[in-house]
């Protein structure tokens, strides 16, 4: 019983095996990919392991406080070199092994020629509760 964040990157992740960008796929290949992702989320809803999923826009900017009464300072858009997160899924599983298994399944989403992309996903554990009994 632990939550994990599965992070998908626009850029910054190691190159996948089936490394053809989506804008070079056929319409059917794109549809098959989207269907796979939706079916995967539905499957996790069914198993009681789904918590959340969101996709992020490709734009992003650094921002920081610049002192009392001054407007925030921004710096952006992000440079080409920056890791760019595309979205996430949060899952709640009984074990780390199960979380890895699900991440691998998500990474197998079909891309060009209907073959698995083998996309690298980042998996990050959430902090849990401090247990009551520790001694």
């Amino acid at each position: 019983m632990a939550k994990y964040l599965l992070l998908k990157h626009y850029r910054g992740a190691p190159a996948p095996i089936n490394d053809v960008p989506m804008d070079q796929w056929t319409q059917d290949e794109i549809s098959a990919h989207i269907k796979y992702m939706n079916d995967f989320a539905d499957k996790l809803r069914g198993t009681g392991e789904f918590v959340d999923e969101r996709a992020l826009a490709q734009e992003g900017t650094w921002v920081r406080y610049d002192g009392e009464g001054r407007p925030p300072v921004t710096d952006g858009p992000f440079a080409e070199t920056k890791d760019l997160i595309a979205g996430w899924m949060i899952i709640d599983t009984d074990s780390y092994e199960r979380a890895l298994e699900l991440a691998a399944e998500l990474s197998a989403a079909p891309g060009k020629d209907g073959k698995p992309i083998h996309e690298w996903l980042e998996i990050r554990p959430f902090y849990g509760h401090a247990p009551t009994i520790t001694e």
Binding site: M1, K3, R45, G46, T47, G48, E49, F50, V51, D52, D92, D94, P125, Y127, G128, H129, A130, P131, T132, I133, T134, E135
Partner: protein
């Protein structure tokens, strides 16, 4: 209306439905509906016989739900075959439900969810809030769990140990959302202890009570962890401690030691010390040895090293620690503590910072970071 009292009737009512021949999954849904109805109706119109009221409403809901054409025949058979209420004692039904909801075919999270709903009478929404998942996800988890146990015979004897593990998990989750899981775990363990005379059930109940007694002193107002040695012992709940100790003594007298009794004995020794300095660490080490003989767990070995450090000095503690895998969770935190006791503040600070990076929860990370910062400044 006392919601806990209402929920305490859940297993008995569910037991009646199942014994009348309703399948577990449908009966469980019907009892949930009846509980919701009770919350709505009882404040205005309290029934004279709460359990009878719940049985009647739940049974009606069950019949409504099975009114589909395919189920009609079976339903009519059931109506005709309806036995007298209360043929089986409630305690047997309650016990069977605990076994079913903690069935070994269920994953821990499914067993926890099903126990909280079918035995505890919590709603799916409450359980979802407590475990910070969407309500739909929790509903699926419960529904799958019910499907998993649907073929298990209700009168099949179960294993108390699996039930205790589930209750322990619920207790250790503490308090989140608007459901006090620790209090709920205690309530469910009390109910179990009333249904079965078993020294480990009593041991777990004692363990929970003894730890619950310290709850108010375990965190600051801001939510920071306060270690045992620094807790304000004046805020410990002496009534809970007395009850825990009494239950534990009765269990130990049965001379069938188990891990929960041993853990409770350690908690009782801590509870017994009016100030941290008067803790009987020698006896605590002996109990850790008992615990190790029962379950050779690395976590127990780690905690034993801390106790050895207190009983025989930090060097002895470090020697005990040296025998353990340094990849264990909380290993560097224990090492940091022992090195500081041994006067090596620099090593301690480095290890506390390292431990903070490996903490599995935010409260612990904050605590360990503060320890490192205290030594660095």
């Amino acid at each position: 209306m006392d919601e806990a009292l209402l929920r305490s009737l859940t297993p008995a009512v569910l037991g009646v439905l199942v014994r009348r021949g309703a399948d577990f999954a449908a009966a469980e849904d019907a009892v949930q509906d009846a509980l919701v109805e009770a919350v709505r109706v009882w404040p205005e119109d309290p029934p004279r016989d709460p359990k009878g009221w719940l049985v009647t409403v739940a049974w009606r809901r069950f019949l409504d739900a099975t009114r589909a054409e395919t189920a009609r025949r079976r339903r009519e058979d059931l109506v005709e075959a309806e036995p007298e209420q209360g043929l089986a004692p409630d305690t047997d039904d309650t016990l069977q439900l605990y076994f079913l909801c903690a069935h070994p075919s269920l994953t821990p999270s499914s067993a926890v969810a099903l126990t909280l709903r079918a035995v505890g009478g919590l709603t799916t929404r409450q359980i979802a809030q407590a475990y910070l998942v969407p309500e739909a996800t929790m509903a699926q988890r419960i529904s799958r769990a019910k499907k998993t146990v649907s073929d298990v015979r209700f009168d099949q004897p179960g294993d108390v140990a699996t039930v205790l593990r589930v209750l322990y998990l619920v207790f250790n989750e503490g308090y989140s959302g608007d459901v006090d899981l620790a209090a709920e775990a205690i309530r469910l363990t009390r109910q179990l202890a009333a249904a079965i005379d078993h020294p480990e059930v009593a041991g777990l109940l004692a363990l929970m009570l003894l730890h619950h007694a310290r709850r108010a002193s375990r965190t600051t107002a801001g939510g920071s962890l306060v270690p045992l040695a620094e807790q304000d012992r004046g805020r410990w709940d002496t009534a809970l401690i007395a009850e825990g100790v009494e239950i534990l003594q009765a269990a130990l007298a049965q001379d069938r030691l188990g891990e929960f009794q041993a853990q409770a004995a350690i908690a009782a020794l801590h509870a017994d010390a009016p100030v941290a300095e008067e803790t009987d660490w020698v006896q605590i080490v002996e109990w850790y040895d008992e615990l190790l003989a029962l379950t050779d767990s690395p976590v127990v070995r780690l905690n034993r090293a801390v106790a050895v450090g207190e009983a025989d000095g930090p060097r002895a503690g470090l020697r005990a620690l040296a025998e353990l895998d340094d990849g264990l969770p909380r290993h560097s935190a224990v090492a940091a503590y022992l090195h500081e006791r041994d006067g090596d503040r620099q090593t301690a600070a480095r290890l506390y910072a390292e431990a903070a990076g490996k903490a599995s929860n935010l409260a612990e990370r904050e605590f360990l970071t503060r320890q490192a910062a205290r030594l660095n400044n």
